[in-house]
């Protein structure tokens, strides 16, 4: 197991380098221009000068190598300096966003808290709702609980968040005035009252996203449970006189979790990626909004850095999911 994990980690390095090259080339080839936002009143000659100032005059491979150097050398040095007060990164150029001309990592650090609180919390809530619903729905298949659960999760999944979000705003933000329609990213939790304010502003975005996540995960959980409940080992376990509780929660659940773990683990990097539409609807301005704005503005350094971090997380969580398979199902061997 350990050697497997180590081998995979080593293999991850060339994989990630290759992924970064593909992403870079993709961004390079896709149409659009960092100066697309510049109003038409700015003449083309001025735009050309601006483009050169962004470093776009150089060939793509030079810019790619420069990005690699900045990402793997300058940035770690900078953060090392920040932590220990040293001066190794003095005079080195960090990765700079085209849009704001500020270091990409500073902006990401600024955005991370709201994304983790809102999107992360909604994922947690979603999983916590989905697992019991999936288990009960499968155990009592075609009961009223299952029917209602199926109905709600299917409706929740088939309605896009740009619609459910606006419905919530109209009902709870405008008509009832219970929750604010705009998320205040500058809000700090210092005492009970500010905590309540934070809860209120999180309520709507978390609900929308949790519903969406729960819908998906509970479907997989239910299907997987159903498959396993019909297996013969369940009958054997029951015949042995084990209590229903132990049969379902220990034997069936453990076997049913394998596909669900994949779904959950694959969803976790997406938490970091933020929720583009929901963040937009509630003005949460997290990493999702950052990424979509950067894509629209063709802010290459920002898109490149964000998607690469995303790739690292995907590779990492895939590995974790693979290791978890081994834990959940001892029959799976990696050698």
């Amino acid at each position: 197991m350990l050697s497997f994990a180590l081998r995979r980690l080593l293999l991850a390095v060339p994989t990630l380098l290759f992924i970064s090259l593909v992403i870079f080339l993709l961004l390079e080839a896709s149409p659009g221009d960092p100066l697309g936002d510049v109003p038409l009143t700015v003449p083309p000659e001025v735009k050309e000068r601006m483009r050169e100032a962004l470093g776009l005059g150089q060939a793509w491979y030079i810019r790619y190598v420069l990005w690699l150097k900045q990402f793997f050398w300058v940035e770690p040095l900078y953060w090392f300096d920040r932590a220990f007060g040293t001066g190794f990164s003095e005079g080195m150029q960090r990765i700079i966003s085209f849009q704001s001309r500020s270091p990409v990592f500073d902006v990401i650090a600024e955005r991370l808290p709201q994304t983790l609180t809102v999107v992360g919390m909604s994922y947690l809530v979603g999983v916590m709702i989905a697992l019991p619903i999936g288990i009960i729905s499968a155990y009592r298949q075609y009961s009223w609980f299952d029917q209602i659960g199926t109905f709600i999760s299917m409706v929740g999944f088939s309605l896009p968040t740009f619609f459910t979000g606006v419905v919530l705003i109209i009902v709870f933000g405008i008509k009832l005035q219970w929750f604010p329609s705009i998320y205040d990213t500058t809000h700090r939790v210092t005492d009970w009252d500010s905590f309540v304010v934070q809860l209120r502003q999180m309520a709507m975005p978390v609900t929308v996203l949790a519903l969406y996540n729960a819908a998906q995960i509970s479907r997989f959980m239910r299907a997987s449970m159903l498959d396993n409940l019909r297996q013969d080992y369940v009958r054997t376990a029951r015949a042995k006189g084990l209590s229903e509780r132990v049969v379902v929660l220990k034997h069936v659940l453990r076997n049913s979790l394998i596909p669900v773990v994949t779904v959950i683990a694959l969803g976790l990097p997406a938490v970091f990626g933020g929720a583009i539409i929901t963040e937009q609807v509630f003005k949460v301005n997290g990493l999702g909004q950052l990424l979509i704005l950067a894509i629209h503005a063709n802010d290459m350094p920002m898109v490149m850095t964000l998607t690469f971090i995303f790739a690292v997380l995907i590779v990492g969580f895939t590995l974790i999911a693979d290791l978890l398979y081994g834990v959940l199902d001892p029959r799976i061997r990696y050698d």
Binding site: A53, R101, E110, E279, L290
Partner: protein, 566 residues
């Protein structure tokens, strides 16, 4: 009506300065929502309207434009003119007198050195200054003394109010930015996000593309202003959400750019919390008719170039008929409501330049049909007209935008009534306006027969705007598909008049010439079919006073005068 008096009143108070308001900071906080979030405070590094508006809260130019398009002094003591000696007889130098006793927000005095430095900052090579066009033709800017700046131009300038006028070219503090010249400009993140200014507010916290907190500037020249102690500028969402936050929930006081369908806005205003206001600058939604052949059968590099004239649209009768079939009043009513006016002009303002061209207001389907009949286009299979084996089928492209898609549907219908078949196409705005020479979908390439978008000019001088429709400004491979003459209009007479215009000084004569040029493009040739003269619209709460929406300058140009209505 009430709105107009309010706006005039605000403009008047701004021009005459101290009115008797309460003391500085007595009105608490004002919340502004900008659904396109500002990404920097330095307008020299980003030409986006959102960034210029954010910058204008802190940074000030020497002079501003009023909502009527007139130039009024801000940091300057007076507007230079030939009469007061500010502009030399040969029109080559402009001398600005600065107001005395103005302080930067850090307490140091504002001097002519700062103005000269600002010019150096933008004009320094490799800096990538977004407002370089404002300094075009400027030979040098020098500080004569503490309070006098002299701008020298290479050639005579009938309209010298580009550099240091308007929110696009405000004054930066030399002490803060002197190490940020040229290549160092983008690395000065701290300076670009927290510029020291002379305006009513200072930046407390800047989060790019998210939220900016401002506090009243303690050194602001009018001790009674601003009335608000703090200003919060939040970004994100879309225009509907922004309008909702002001008009329905009342969480915000001011929403920028609330461009929405008129009935949606009316429904929101019914909540009684605020109102939507509009101001008109020079923005015109128009259709550009491609006079060259965009056929995909042609080799790359020759499509949509002057080498191949358009097989159908070079017929003036067809272009005229296309224009006649459009009901501009209905388009305005459906798409923009009070924030738009039908227009037949490419240059709708200022008054001296706007031609009295209104004959296109009445839709004339029958007339258009007769015109096509006369030109030999006969109705063929499926109701589509043909002539010499060519079918009247057009590809109509525009950017993604709800109003533009409604316009496409309506125009397609009207054109089908006169026997023109239309295929519609939409392109993502960041690609459409992106100008990437490698993409086939940019508005400059115009690989379609007709396209619709809006454009305007800055300041109150339309001459450079009209000068972009000359033969050599047609996009093509030789200029990397840049240039704004997207119709590929080419008339030697037009080019000659444009060249002549640079020599003319008399405003009335310039205006007359501008009207002539405008008519050549629109009424005479129908190379450009203007549709709607669009205003900028914003929503503000009823409790927010002093708002004077301005389409010629930053919308927050008079934020110092904003106050709470009690």
């Amino acid at each position: 009506m009430k709105l107009k008096t309010l706006m005039l009143g605000a403009a008047a108070t701004a021009a005459m300065a101290p009115a008797a308001f309460a003391e500085r900071g007595s009105d608490g906080q004002v919340n502004v929502i900008m659904w396109q979030a500002p990404s920097t405070m330095n307008p020299y590094l980003s030409a986006g309207t959102k960034d210029i508006i954010a910058g204008s809260v802190v940074l000030e130019p020497l002079a501003s434009f009023t909502p009527e398009g007139e130039v009024v002094p801000r940091l300057a003591a007076e507007i230079p003119s030939v009469e007061n000696g500010g502009i030399s007889e040969d029109l080559k130098t402009v001398t600005w007198k600065l107001q005395p006793d103005i302080k930067w927000s850090d307490g140091t005095p504002f001097t002519a050195e700062d103005v000269a430095f600002t010019a150096e900052y933008c004009m320094s090579p490799n800096g990538g200054c977004a407002q370089l066009a404002k300094f075009e033709g400027v030979e040098k800017v020098e500080a004569v003394d503490e309070l006098t700046v002299r701008v020298t131009f290479v050639s005579p300038r009938p309209d010298p109010f580009s550099a240091f006028v308007g929110a696009q070219s405000p004054i930066l503090q030399k002490a803060q930015f002197q190490n940020c010249l040229g290549e160092a400009a983008p690395t000065c993140t701290q300076q670009n996000f927290n510029p020291v200014g002379t305006g009513a507010f200072v930046v407390k916290e800047f989060r790019t593309n998210d939220v900016i907190s401002f506090a009243a500037n303690p050194e602001y020249r009018d001790p009674a202003k601003p009335a608000f102690a703090t200003l919060l500028m939040k970004g994100g969402g879309d225009s509907a959400a922004a309008a909702r936050a002001v008009l329905e929930t009342g969480e915000f006081d001011y929403a920028w750019n609330t461009q929405l369908a008129p009935d949606v806005i009316a429904g929101m205003e019914a909540a009684g919390k605020g109102k939507n206001v509009a101001a008109f600058g020079s923005l015109v939604e128009r259709i550009h008719v491609n006079l060259t052949d965009p056929s995909p059968g042609l080799p790359e590099g020759e499509r949509s170039t002057v080498k191949h004239p358009h097989p159908i649209l070079t017929d003036p009768a067809v272009r005229k008929a296309l224009s006649m079939a459009i009901d501009r009043e209905l388009l305005t009513e459906i798409g923009y409501g009070p924030a738009g006016q039908p227009t037949c002009n490419l240059v709708p303002a200022p008054a001296a330049w706007a031609s009295e061209n209104t004959e296109c207001f009445t839709q004339d389907i029958e007339g258009a049909k007769a015109l096509l009949d006369e030109a030999g286009w006969t109705v063929g299979a499926g109701g589509v007209r043909e002539k010499d084996g060519k079918r009247l089928t057009l590809l109509f492209q525009t950017s993604v935008n709800a109003v533009r898609q409604d316009f496409q549907a309506l125009i397609k219908q009207w054109w089908s009534e006169i026997g023109v078949e239309t295929e519609l196409k939409v392109v993502d705005p960041s690609v459409f306006f992106g100008g990437d020479a490698g993409s086939p979908d940019t508005f400059q390439k115009l690989y379609a027969d007709v396209e619709m978008y809006a454009n305007n000019f800055e300041g109150s001088n339309p001459e450079p705007y009209l000068a972009r429709q000359t033969c050599d400004k047609a996009p093509g491979p030789e200029n990397q598909w840049q240039g704004e003459n997207t119709s590929r209009y080419c008339d030697p007479e037009y080019d000659r008049l444009i060249a002549e215009m640079t020599q003319i000084v008399d405003p009335a004569e310039r205006g007359a010439m501008g009207r002539r040029l405008n008519e050549m493009l629109t009424k005479d040739s129908n190379a450009i079919i203007p549709l709607v003269y669009r205003g900028t619209t914003s929503a503000h709460a009823n409790s927010l006073g002093g708002v004077a929406l301005n389409a010629w300058d930053s919308e927050l140009w008079n934020v110092a005068d904003w106050h709470r209505v009690k």
